[in-house]
Amino acid sequence: MLFLRRTLPMILAFVTGIIGISIYYVPHSSAQGLEEVLARWLRIVYAFAFFLGLFSLLNLHWRRVRARQAGWGYSLIVYLSFGLMIFFVLYNDGTGPFSPQARAGGYQWLFLNVQVPCGATMFSILAFFISSAAYRTFRARTPEAAILLVAAVIVMLGRVPVGAYIHDFFPAAAQWLMDVPNMAAKRGILLGVSLGIVATSLRIIFGIERSYLGGGEE
């Protein structure tokens, strides 16, 4: 059993990982064809992976409702709104779930009039909090933070029409900050992070990193 539960997945990860690396260097059509097939399969597995997220979301709120935890009523609202939307999605403007997606209908209405305004508003609230933080907490506590704030102010002025209106210096300086020091630092970060991603991928392929196997004892 240990072989099936532990060794087999690790062998599979190793084999698919090595194939994933090798086909990059092989232009032969059989290798490229293999890449196409493996990618298409992985894409479909990704579609199923959505249900993992959906299940844990619904499960979490279900547990709250069942245990009557504080604020369980809101968890019920998640269920109600989910149910309402799923009804319109499956109804599919009258054609049902076993036909291609409809161009309009209740689900489109709910998307445009509920999901879009809520999503857009949620993040716009941050504009207010950033303003209050600007006044109360963005402090040049250290020389480093001072450099950060000065760069931020120049960029903020340079990127909007009023900056050019005050002086041509601001757009030019903002552009230079973005293109030279910012670019250089971001490149340095990118090189380091990419090496990190390569190293993590390698640990997965060689079975050194196994967190993807999930918890639970063997």
Partner: protein
């Protein structure tokens, strides 16, 4: 009037046609590094070719023709040095021209693609206006499938050697302790914990929003272990806020273990490691409320944060808490830097966790990456110096083709 102009044009045309020469040294061969879809033609560049001259490529499936057109190339452009991925870097490549042929057009039809492993016959005609001079006999070539993309050779070597370095260092780390420098953020962390003890107020540890499969969360849990050990020793209250149920379970385990190790299992209460909320802004709002009520002396925020970072850090500042943050979310780092007393930036978070956990695979991998960075630094310095001295060797090796 019109007639005289036409005569003039004809005269001009025939005059320049004198400069038109048949292509010399014409060769056709399979294009390297592809799946058998094209043939590459090369020929010596005619430095004296008149302006406006073009080479017309002709293809036939039989050596006797008929020949069909397959594109044209300006006599002035396309030196082989333009395509190092196919030809490499050789000094005479400025003197030869090339074209990759993938298809040809029969009159009145859509273009036909070249078939793999079938003989085709190629001819080249130098042309200017109506005048044209053809290369001699047609040259035969086949488009073949290739098994290795030589343009990616540098990538291949780099991938193999970097992989070897990482794996070797991980195996070294399993046998002996590897050195990494002390992380200033960890000392700041100790100070902050000490202050909470002096003030007799709680410490609040806030997890980021990612699940247990992310390196930032794993690092945060490792740091939480150390924090819990200290608070158990100092007898300071510790609250741990979680967003993800799995992270919650792991955190409870880690804190409990730390209290056990410190010999204070009695001081551990499961209620102090809690699920604050499962929606981003509710999470922030719950913790804001808690901070204002309980006034923790120290806030520790570790893991991957999104926009809620600002709400958390701002409230922390207004209640006068010492704040230590650590995240690999570069978009949120600016907010932490301006609101927190100390911030572990990006990879520093992983390094701090590897430093604390002393786990061989983390330490070894970190060390291997360090070697990778050292190589990149050396290449950057040396490569630029050499390139400035007109020795482009390193610069060519470290390019993507």
């Amino acid at each position: 009037m019109y007639r005289s102009m036409i005569i003039l044009l004809v005269l001009m045309g025939s005059a320049t046609a004198w400069g038109l020469k048949a292509p010399v040294d014409f060769e056709a061969a399979d294009t390297p590094n592809d799946a058998g879809t094209s043939v590459t033609l090369t020929w010596a560049r005619d430095a004296d070719a008149p302006a406006g001259a073009v080479y017309q490529v002709m293809v036939a499936t039989d050596s006797n023709g008929p020949f069909y057109p397959a594109g044209e190339v300006s006599a002035a452009g396309s030196p082989m040095s333009e395509d190092p991925a196919a030809f490499g870097f050789w000094s005479d490549h400025d003197d030869r021209q090339y074209v990759h042929v993938e298809e040809f057009t029969r009159p009145g039809e859509d273009p036909t693609k070249l078939e793999t492993d079938r003989p085709y016959y190629f001819r080249l005609e130098a042309r200017l206006g109506e005048e044209s001079v053809a290369s001699g006999a047609a040259v035969e070539a086949r488009a073949m499938e290739n098994f290795f993309n030589w343009a990616k050779l540098n990538n291949f070597i780099l991938a193999i050697s970097f992989s070897a370095i990482i794996l070797i260092y991980i195996s070294i780390a399993r046998r002996r302790e590897l050195y990494i420098r002390r992380i200033a953020g960890l000392e700041a962390l100790n100070e902050a914990l000490g202050r909470a003890t002096e003030m007799g107020k709680p410490v609040l540890f806030i997890h980021g929003l990612y699940g247990m499969d992310q390196p930032s969360t794993i690092a945060a849990v490792n740091i939480l272990g150390r924090v819990a050990q200290r608070t158990a020793e100092y007898d300071t209250a510790l609250r741990v806020a979680n967003y993800d149920p799995v992270v919650l379970a792991v955190s409870q385990e880690v804190v409990k273990e730390s209290y056990l190790e410190a010999g204070r299992p009695d001081a551990y209460s499961e209620n102090n490691v809690f699920l604050a909320a499962t929606e981003q802004f509710s999470y922030a709002a719950t913790l804001q409320g808690m901070m204002v009520r309980e006034r923790p002396a120290t806030n520790i925020m570790m893991g991957y944060f999104f926009a809620e970072s600002l709400l958390l850090a701002e409230t922390g500042t207004t209640i006068g808490a010492i704040q230590i943050a650590g995240t690999d979310s570069y978009t949120q780092l600016p907010f932490f830097v301006t609101t927190c007393d100390y911030t572990l930036m990006g990879e520093e978070l992983y390094a701090a966790s590897a430093y604390l956990a002393r786990e061989s695979r983390l330490l070894g991998s970190l060390k291997g990456q360090d070697i990778g960075k050292a190589v990149l630094i050396a290449v950057l310095l040396l490569g630029t110096a050499l390139a400035s001295l007109d020795i482009p060797f390193l610069a060519r090796m470290f390019s993507s083709y």
